[in-house]
Symmetry: C2
Subunit: 463 residues, 2 copies
């Protein structure tokens, strides 16, 4: 229910944008730059970025050039990667130089990450020596690491300063920093001693020393850690920014919650895709080409075909029995689907609970026994339903076979669905791949084996 209203609203919003877009286009075509500037000055930056995406390519460059220099970097960062690349091509060298200089260090890393290597090399030439050194260093951290999200522009103060002195320093340095909501306390060698929210400085007495308002209570990250670590820490500690330190505890930068929030959403999307046997896309769906979508999907599908051959093999092995009792075939989709669905439920519950830290790896035993119980309850319920169905379609024997298969299969599927994610983590594969098609395909083969074994027993015995 939740998303529907929102989606409808977004369409409505899209229409309002249409109107605003026409206003802007008119200004551009009449070359009324003054009116254009005034109109845009009241817009939030992400909306200017949205507008740019909607304009013709020629108008887009014109409007972008009109933007006050102080906001053009931010607007650029709010644009989508594909459009950023396009815009960069249309800018002069001088404009490119200014644009790059106005980006924050983390946005610059983000831009370089998504451009092809030689374009990045070319752009690095436009940077000032200081920015170049900084960008080289940030790009040196592993992909998807905390370092890649980090900005080195923070404000740090010393414990022996007074609050008044610290505020003076914050005023001086704060303009260059991405945020001064959190201020760091370091010693002379830049070793991190504490992280304090700006409000502490405001609420303290001006002649208190920093030492006095410190709480010696902070959480920091290493630049080499996975960026998911930042997501966990931000969520657990409810922080707006996290300091990043090197192995000696020296402060080298900070990560802000807006970037971490984006990472969390991207990681969730990746998990959704992996769960549906789609390799991570790297770009948004809208930007993905047909060819890249093909490549991200076909590999898993072909792999699953191989898994499905096991199912074909099982049916082939029981060919004679199936010919003799063709009614058995009627229930193949029902049984393997129900098993697959139950397995997918368990696997998805596990995968998500592991990903959010809701259950820990060492709780596998407790979890399996819980899922066993759930499986038995669900299996018995489903067996009752399918026993009746089987009876009406194929008589008493078939009903018995279908019922017994259902309860056995649902319990087995639950167990496989629970264990598989834990096993994958053990062998260092992301468990997210377990939640959908993979588990379904495995359970299909297992299910058919159970079905025909039970059929052989019942038909052999009763028949």
């Amino acid at each position: 229910m939740v998303k529907v209203r929102d989606l409808l609203e977004r369409i409505a919003n899209a229409m309002i944008d249409e109107e605003r877009k026409h206003t802007i286009e008119e200004f551009v075509h009449k070359k009324n730059w003054q009116a254009l500037r005034e109109e845009l000055s009241e817009w939030p930056l992400p909306e200017i970025a949205d507008l740019l995406l909607e304009l013709d390519k020629a108008d887009r460059v014109l409007v972008f050039r009109m933007l006050p220099r102080r906001i053009s970097g931010d607007v650029f960062s709010y644009m989508e990667s594909e459009h950023r690349k396009g815009l960069l091509k249309d800018l002069t060298d001088e404009e490119t130089r200014h644009l790059l200089a106005s980006l924050t260090p983390d946005d610059r890393t983000n831009l370089f990450e998504e451009l092809p290597g030689q374009v990045t090399q070319h752009l690095l030439n436009f940077l000032s020596p200081e920015d170049l050194r900084e960008s080289r260093q940030l790009l040196g951290y592993p992909e998807e690491s905390v370092g890649r999200l980090m900005t080195p522009d923070y404000v740090a103060v010393r414990p022996e300063w007074t609050v008044h002195e610290a505020l003076e320093h914050i005023r001086l340095k704060g303009k260059r920093s991405e945020t001064i909501n959190v201020i760091y306390v370091t010693d002379q060698s830049w070793k991190l001693l504490d992280a304090l929210e700006l409000q502490k400085f405001i609420l303290a007495r001006p002649d208190d020393t920093i030492d006095q308002i410190m709480d010696d209570n902070f959480v920091s990250l290493s630049a080499f850690e996975d960026r998911e670590k930042a997501v966990f820490a931000m969520q657990k500690y409810d922080l707006f920014a996290l300091p990043v330190v090197d192995t000696d505890g020296v402060l080298i930068g900070m990560v802000t919650i807006d970037d971490v929030f984006d990472v969390a959403q991207k990681e969730a999307t990746e998990d959704f895709h992996k769960g549906a046997a789609v390799a991570p896309l790297k770009t948004s769906y809208r930007e993905a080409s047909v060819w890249s979508l093909y490549r991200k999907r076909v590999g898993w599908l072909m792999t699953l075909v191989v898994v499905n051959l096991a199912s074909s093999g099982v049916i082939a092995a029981y060919e004679d029995m199936l010919s003799a009792a063709i009614a058995l075939a009627f229930f193949i989709p029902l049984l393997i689907d129900s098993g697959g669905n139950a397995g997918a439920q368990s696997a998805t519950l596990m995968v998500r609970a592991l990903a959010t830290g809701d259950i820990k790896l060492n709780q596998w035993y407790k979890t399996i026994s819980k899922e066993m119980k759930v499986g038995i309850a669900i299996g018995l319920t489903m067996a009752l339903g399918s026993l009746l169905l089987g009876y009406f379609r194929g008589g008493f024997e078939i009903g018995l076979i279908v019922g017994i298969t259902m309860v056995t299969l649902v319990i087995v599927a639950n167990i496989i669905g629970t264990i598989l994610p834990f096993l994958l983590v053990r062998i260092r594969v992301d468990p997210a791949v377990a939640s959908g098609p993979l588990i379904t395909s495995i359970i299909d083969a297992v299910g058919l084996l159970i079905y025909f074994s039970i059929a052989a027993m019942v038909l052999g015995q009763v028949g």
Copy 2:
């Protein structure tokens, strides 16, 4: 790959906790309260909450009582819902009164939300008249609305004040506010005029008026809007806090990013579960009982059994043909699984892209034509593989049937997987339910129909 390292680390962390836990338990058993207080004073609050969960019930209350009053409310809020309920039962009336008073308004709403109605009614008696009025008002907003996330404790200033005056006011009121990272500007009737980050006040000259540092550029939410709206706005505008206004634009509270971040994770978990045919759990997996897991899962499974009856019906309709060419049965799992997998891929890509706003509802035409192309490419690749498999297992005719079915089915599955989420939104159902078992079950029936129709044509014609 991402999560593995992290999961292993979490086990390591769990072991360290074990050691710390023993230290604490020793202090408790030796009644060494002084040492206990000192030890805990250095811990981040979420870790104290974690510790409490690990302790015996008796020790838990003892340690909780030892906590300085100023942090006990926050520690309580970091605990899991089940444990909060347990702890509440063990506190005296006086302790309950103090605890409730020390909670922030949004945490208090959150607590009341998850308690049974009569417990909440009982607890409301312990509130001061002001807190009671506030809680009644917050609980009056719809479930999952912005109002339920909101705190009325913000700091607002007037445009005619100087920065110096404003900072004085912030110092005075800031202690009670959840955050002063964002300060609101209102007129005399509390109509919201602007939202300014605290850093603007610090970086401005003390005798500037607020009017001068205002940028008239802010985004606000209505208390009745869905909480997902807050997630979208925070992500789009990179904000730390969002003001909440009533229909006249009067400021009534604010929503902070930490709460919104939690909502985003919860909504993603809900979508994962829905995608696997699990009804939203309301609690974490760890806290969910066997009975509640059973209820959340069995409904969808039984519904899908009904959908699967269509598949049984199709096979039954082609019983004679199947008996005559039993090799056709070998390929049933392979074909319906491949179709289901391809459909699940498309559906998941759609569902997630719609949920994150990556594609909009009015882009359905463009999206379907893109998915068609991807479907044709994947279908042809898969057909080639399965044609060969069919040929080796069942001869030329079977190979032909399997190959043609595969390409047709994959294309059809892609189209159904793309359209279904859009359709569900239209009829106001959350599209997340489309991504897994539902789409698989639908495609199974469609796939069998395609398979047997093609088989009938080929076998009728060639044979």
